[in-house]
């Protein structure tokens, strides 16, 4: 009973057809409506721009991806730790969630300069912003996963007089894995966006800065080239996570009807 391959050939085909159709419609729409390039560039033009500036985009992507991944790991850890604390000490949920929502409600653009003041012009504030943007979905999802453990198994652990900690490690944690992966799939593209937002005005490199420059110059092909990269990297991360999930949650294979 092997996990269903994430990319079986038929799925790959249908994915290709859908994506191609979308780009074709977009291309046609732009051409038929004679949409000016400063409002919406045709995808062909975007892809051309991408290929004409590969090294520019490669460097920017490397920087942003690095920030995004480190920030994601931080945000993930923070969300995970908080969720764990809330499951081990359920009374704290109201207070901690209030603070989490307070942090989540603070626009990143408002605190980005403050972070720059404290942490300088380097990558650190970008990583922190990314972490702040990603921790919330992780917190909510893992908390739900940790709480929704099979009651029959919880009874078993209670009858064993397992400590909270043992119940957490041996029971709640593994059974929350599907929620963890959903959280990761939500957070991975979000981390990329977080890094981009962090770089938007205050960075000297990275996709975010490239995008900002492109946008303020109303150079939309450059802007969309970066968006395509973000989407491609996001999709890659998503597929990687789906692949990992199929292996990690091997005992519960999603099945079709």
């Amino acid at each position: 009973m092997k996990p269903r391959a994430v990319w079986n050939p038929r799925d790959l085909l249908s994915a290709g057809v859908i994506v191609l159709t979308f780009f074709l419609l977009w291309e046609l729409g732009v051409r038929l409506l004679d949409m000016p390039v400063y409002l919406l560039p045709a995808p062909s033009r975007v892809i051309l721009t991408l290929f004409q500036n590969t090294s520019l985009y490669a460097q920017a992507t490397a920087l942003t991806l690095g920030e995004a991944l480190v920030g994601l790991v931080l945000g993930l850890s923070a969300g995970f730790l908080l969720a764990s604390v809330l499951v081990l000490r359920p009374g704290l949920e109201g207070g901690v969630m209030t603070l989490a929502i307070l942090v989540k409600s603070t626009p990143m653009v408002a605190i980005a300069p403050l972070l720059t003041l404290w942490m300088g012009f380097g990558v650190l504030p970008k990583i922190v912003i990314t972490a702040l943007m990603t921790f919330f979905p992780v917190l909510v999802n893992i908390l739900t996963g940790l709480q929704r453990t099979d009651p029959a198994l919880l009874d078993l652990f209670r009858a064993w007089h397992a400590s909270r900690w043992e119940t957490f490690i041996f029971l709640r944690l593994p059974s929350s894995l599907p929620y963890l992966f959903a959280a990761l799939k939500i957070s991975a593209p979000l981390a990329l966006i977080g890094a981009v937002v962090a770089e938007w005005t205050g960075a000297s490199g990275g996709l975010g800065r490239t995008m900002w420059l492109a946008y303020t110059n109303l150079n939309l092909p450059y802007l969309f080239a970066a968006i395509f990269i973000l989407a491609a990297v996001g999709m890659f991360l998503y597929q990687f996570l789906a692949w990992l999930e199929a292996r990690a949650v091997f005992w519960q294979v999603p099945r079709q009807d």
Partner: protein
């Protein structure tokens, strides 16, 4: 570990509330093997869950070796086997058994190794399989192996052989009596199988339909092993059948 149940009642909240136990009283001396029999839905599992500390005692009292279920449980001398197998799906068969070893009473070493326990229930070949690869009966045997690792003073067993065929039952009966005679834990053994009760137990307690009351308390003073064909066995069997027939006859709900 002796057991004292006095005027124990339990009612599940809800609309309408459901009374599961009604002023149930009986005592089990330390080391006694007591089978509990009663119609489906009468309150047997509820009784075991109360003893395992999984439900709060609402009315009356339930003492395990003079302690409350929570106190006794905290010393990990109480082993409970649920009616459904409750296996960890992400652990192999062996790892499911090994996990139980963490929950031995303080200072106790395991009496059996995990592999030995698996061998006794006939699961050696499946030690590296995952629970979802096991048949219903194999899952139940795994749950049994896991419970018997615990070296407890009280066994609370909820229909442990329900999913097993006669032959496997017979073989496991031997294994179980071996272990029981070596350790001499007190046993509450819920079963629907009247012969099984008579084969195993020192005493059979028969409960009424819901809410459970004691309707027969039958000592089984036969030396083991107990051939079913013996007249003594048959006499006890008839008494039990009669008690159950009477007990269950008028109820509409099978409970």
């Amino acid at each position: 570990m002796h057991l004292e149940i006095e005027q124990l009642s339990h009612t599940f909240a809800g609309r309408p509330p459901r009374a599961a136990l009604a002023e149930l009283s009986f005592a089990v001396p330390s080391g006694q093997f007591t089978a509990v029999i009663g119609p489906s839905g009468c309150g047997k599992s509820t009784l075991l869950r109360l003893a395992a500390g999984l439900l709060p005692v609402q009315e009356g009292s339930l003492r395990l070796g003079g302690q409350t279920p929570a106190q006794a449980g905290a010393q990990r001398r109480v082993a409970w086997m649920a009616q459904s197998p409750a296996l960890l799906p992400w652990r192999t068969v062996r790892d499911n058994v090994l996990l139980a070893l963490r929950f031995l009473p303080a200072g106790h070493a395991a009496r059996l190794s995990a592999d030995e326990a698996l061998a006794r229930v006939g699961l050696s070949d499946s030690a590296n399989a995952y629970p979802f690869m096991l048949s219903g009966g194999m899952q139940q045997r795994l749950a049994l192996a896991r419970t018997l690792m615990l070296d407890a003073g009280l066994w609370l067993m909820d229909e442990p052989f329900a999913a097993l065929d006669e032959l496997t039952r017979e073989r496991l009966t031997h294994e179980l009596l071996d272990l029981w005679q070596a350790q001499r834990p007190t046993v509450l053994w819920v079963t629907h199988h009247i012969q099984e009760a008579l084969r195993l137990a020192d005493r059979v307690v028969v409960l009424s339909p819901r809410p459970a009351r004691l309707i027969l308390d039958l000592p089984v003073d036969l030396p083991r092993p107990r051939p079913e064909s013996s007249p003594a066995f048959q006499a006890l069997l008839s008494r039990l059948r009669a008690a159950l027939g009477l007990a269950a006859a008028p109820a509409e709900e099978g409970a």
